[in-house]
């Protein structure tokens, strides 16, 4: 187990390098010249050239990558072209907000998803099942923007929560709810699907024969058998939310990584794009690693090989 963890960590490291390399090459291929963008409209060719030289962009790709990589290994993500600030500082500044929203969003969607998915599975074929199913489709199909603003209107007309910003618990509620509503549909459908299978199993029958309460049967016996794919989905979501949820962040004025990334993409601010990419890649790899590592704990039949 410990060995496997070490090996997986080493692999995770390689994956990150791989992501860095691919991203680097792609950005290199991107037809936009950062030096030009920085130099501005009135720059002469000479100025552009000297800026290019300052940034090391006149070096061959491999040299550039090596420079970046060796910086990376020292924990240096480089400096933003546009902001002339350490990328690390920019990302760290937004990390708490991103992590908060990620955690809150996942909690909401998982709770909603598991609750409604379970109810639907138990009441399979009934009215409630149909309603839950409809709702999950509405959630999944609705454009983020609309859902966010609908909730927003709630805040405006009812004034229960602050409209935008970051800092207190009240601020988290609406964005987390938006993410939750949007994502819960997936969870609900997956939980329903897995629970339908599990509820048919003999061991659930055994649990019922013991006279256990429905709640205990569902939470203690059925859910743990249905939860594996959910754990994998959480692993996926960790990564996706870490990369930033652009629209929701924008609507709620949430200072997350998504806004940073979006702006950087528009400005071809390569160090920031690289930094955000690597941060979210790290989160994704970690999320997956966690999902894989806890799988055998959830289902002891799975061998850790």
């Amino acid at each position: 187990m410990a060995f496997m963890l070490l090996r997986r960590l080493a692999q995770a490291f390689l994956i990150l390098i791989g992501v860095a390399a691919i991203t680097f090459v792609l950005l290199y291929a991107l037809p936009a010249d950062p030096a030009r963008m920085i130099a501005g409209r009135s720059a002469t060719a000479q100025t552009v050239a000297s800026i290019r030289h300052e940034l090391g962009l006149d070096q061959p790709l491999l040299v550039q990558f090596w420079t970046y990589l060796s910086g990376l290994l020292r924990g240096d993500l480089g400096r933003s072209y546009a902001q002339k600030t350490e990328v690390w500082t920019l990302i760290v500044a937004r990390l708490p907000a991103t992590l908060t929203l990620m955690a809150a969003g996942i909690v909401v969607e998982v709770i909603l998803g598991i609750t409604f998915g379970t109810i639907a599975a138990v009441k399979r074929g009934g009215m409630i099942d149909r309603l839950v199913m409809m709702a999950s489709f509405v959630g999944v199909s609705a454009p983020q923007f609309v859902v966010a603003l609908l909730l927003y209107v709630f805040a405006v007309t009812l004034g229960w929560f602050p409209m935008s910003g970051y800092g207190s618990f009240a601020h988290v509620v609406l964005p987390a709810a938006t993410l939750g509503v949007l994502g819960a549909g997936w969870y609900a459908r997956m939980v329903r699907s897995a629970m339908i299978d599990v509820l048919n199993q003999d061991y659930v029958r055994t649990a019922r024969a013991k006279g256990l309460s429905s709640r205990r049967i569902i939470f203690r016996h059925a859910l743990p058998n249905a939860i594996l794919p959910i754990v994998a989905m959480i692993g996926i979501d960790i990564g996706q939310f870490m990369g930033g949820v652009v629209v929701v962040e924008a609507v709620y004025g949430w200072p997350g990584i998504g806004q940073l990334a979006w702006q950087a993409i528009q400005q071809v601010d390569i160090p920031i794009i690289m930094g955000v990419t690597l941060t979210s890649a790290l989160a994704i790899v970690t999320g997956n690693l966690i999902a894989d590592v806890i799988a055998p704990f959830i289902d002891p039949r799975i061998r850790t090989s």
Partner: protein, 563 residues
């Protein structure tokens, strides 16, 4: 029914119970007018044909029929003064466990795979006993069902236990509920006879201590004789005969009952012979000493790694099977008996290369430890396994017909039509109807599933079959039919068997040689005659002694002399 009507009201009464199965072809009657009474403190044994509806009856009482396919169409089930068929779900929940508990027939699939044994037991204890020290109680329960090393077992998961252990966990769980009525569906099929005797004892104690009434489903007439106050014999969804146990054994009235009793094997029936009885007229395949063994096992050891190990623990667990060696010649059967948990199934899986092992195993001349998956194919063709747990070993999403045809398809034998015919033939020979082919595993009874697995293993006409408790769930008449089939194949085609069973009578009937396992080692091995007629080891002797005798008078006299 009239003779004892003066006595107190029955605790449980089943009246004219009818159950229908929904099949794609329409409704099919599974239970037809089943009625019986269970009086307080009594033991009612339900015996009868495999697939006759015993399990369905007990599930109906529990209110646990699978909703999608089975439904009570008429009849009443009365517990005390409540009509169970009309109770709501939540009212039923109050009854389950505390008032009626059930031991299910298939322990593997009936235990939650992702919950530790301890958690599952403790939960039952918490629910039904006012015990603060539920963990201690759980340990005591495991002790009571004679599971060694209960502290370790509590932490383990169902798949880490042997078949017999799982069954005992099921029993412990049901008993921890301290129910008024206990329904035990084939509770001892996977237990060796010594443990079985202890378990039966335990149930009797329970009866004495808490006044529990028991509905016991079993095909083992010895167990019936030992336990039953009354016996109901089922066939084809009906109760054909229902009587006091002494009367029934003394003078069975129904032809089916008579047939059943006649088919009961008696230990020692083959004393003085070397081989199994002849079934066919086929000329006996002359055992040639010079032919190579079909299975040659040398120094086989197996150890299970700690699958769900903690982060940094990498200790090597003690081996489950330790350096055992034996060989089986073509056309020969070796019986493997031994204590539950001694490593019989593990040995069986290892010799077919299904789990990692050390040592050498040669099948039909191939050293399987050196073969890659594709190279194993010819070996797989000539060696088949019948798993101890038939339900778990069938793909729930594959129809029985396809499952049985599976080995033929895999090895590219026959055209689809030929395979269909062969499947139908196999089904018939194991006592099922060919229409079973279109149905799915969950639609069958325990014994029927076992026969499906047997049919699947026989489909290829292999040279070697590892049969792990493969007739345990069959009633004696069907069992005799299946055993005869196996013997016939052996005679006609020189099949060899590694026959794992706890039923000494079956072993006696089938084997040429017998090996006795204890604690992962073969403690005694020899020809059948040697083992059965002059056992050397104490353990072997104890095994012989513990075999139940299918005669209730024997037990009555025994008890009288004891008490």
């Amino acid at each position: 029914m009239t003779e004892e009507s003066g006595r107190e009201k029955p605790v449980l009464r089943v009246e004219k119970l009818c159950v229908d199965a929904r099949t794609p072809e329409g409704l099919k009657r599974v239970l037809d007018d089943v009625s019986f009474d269970l009086r307080a403190g009594d033991t009612l044994c339900l015996a009868g044909e495999s697939g006759s509806g015993k399990s369905v009856t007990s599930l109906s009482i529990m209110g646990l029929l699978p909703k999608a396919s089975l439904r009570i169409t008429s009849g009443n089930i009365i517990l005390g003064d409540r009509e169970l068929t009309r109770l709501s779900n939540s009212q039923m929940r109050d009854i389950r466990g505390g008032e009626i508990a059930m031991i299910f027939q298939e322990p593997m699939t009936s235990l939650n795979p992702v919950m530790s044994i301890g958690a599952q037991l403790i939960e039952a204890i918490r629910e039904h006993q006012q015990a603060d020290n539920s963990e201690t109680v759980a340990r005591q329960m495991l002790d009571a069902v004679h599971i060694a090393d209960p502290v370790l077992r509590l932490k383990q998961y169902p798949h880490e236990l042997s078949g017999g252990m799982r069954q005992r966990v099921m029993i412990a769980m049901a008993l921890s509920c301290r129910p008024k009525v206990l329904i035990a569906d084939e509770p001892t099929t996977a237990l060796d006879v010594t443990v079985q005797a202890q378990i039966l004892n335990l149930m009797r104690e329970l009866k004495g201590e808490f006044g529990t009434s028991i509905v016991m489903i079993t095909h083992d007439m010895g167990v019936v004789a030992e336990m039953a106050d009354r016996v109901a014999i089922m066939q084809n969804g009906r109760i054909v005969e229902q009587r006091n146990s002494l009367d029934l054994f003394a003078s069975p009235s129904e032809p089916y009952t008579r047939r059943l009793l006649a088919a009961v094997p008696r230990l020692g029936a083959f004393a003085g012979t070397d081989g199994p009885p002849r079934i066919s007229k086929a000329p006996l395949q002359q055992k040639q000493r010079e032919t190579a063994p079909i299975l040659n096992v040398r120094d086989l050891s197996v150890s299970y790694g700690r699958g769900s190990g903690m982060l940094f623990r990498r200790q090597v667990p003690p081996a489950t099977v330790r350096e055992i060696s034996f060989e089986i010649m073509p056309g020969e059967t070796m019986g493997l008996v031994g204590e539950s948990g001694s490593g019989k199934s593990t040995t069986g899986k290892a010799v077919l290369g299904l789990i990692p092992f050390s040592g050498s195993v040669e099948i039909d001349g191939y050293d399987i430890s050196r073969l890659s998956q594709p190279e194993m194919r010819p070996v797989r063709r000539s060696a088949q396994m019948i798993f101890q747990d038939p339900y778990a070993s069938l793909d729930p999403r594959m129809s029985v017909g396809r499952a049985i045809a599976e080995p033929m398809t895999i090895h590219g034998i026959g055209t689809p039509a030929e395979r269909r015919d062969r499947v139908a033939d196999l089904l018939r020979r194991v006592g099922l109807t060919p229409d079973a082919a279109t149905r799915y595993p969950h639609e069958f009874s325990g014994g029927q599933r076992q026969r499906i697995c047997i049919a699947r293993a026989l489909a290829l006409e292999p040279k070697l079959i590892v049969a792990d408790e493969s007739v345990a769930a069959l009633d004696v008449s069907v069992r005799a039919q299946v055993l005869d089939l196996m013997l016939e194949l052996q005679e006609t085609m020189g099949l060899a068997y590694l026959f794992i069973s706890h039923d000494m009578a079956v072993i006696e009937r089938m084997s040429h040689k017998v090996a006795v396992m204890h604690g992962g080692r073969i403690v005694e091995a020899g020809t059948r005659r040697e083992i059965f007629e002059s056992p050397r080891e104490d353990y072997t002797k104890a095994l012989m002694k513990a075999v139940p005798i299918p005669d209730p008078t024997f037990y009555r006299s025994l008890r009288r002399s004891a008490g």
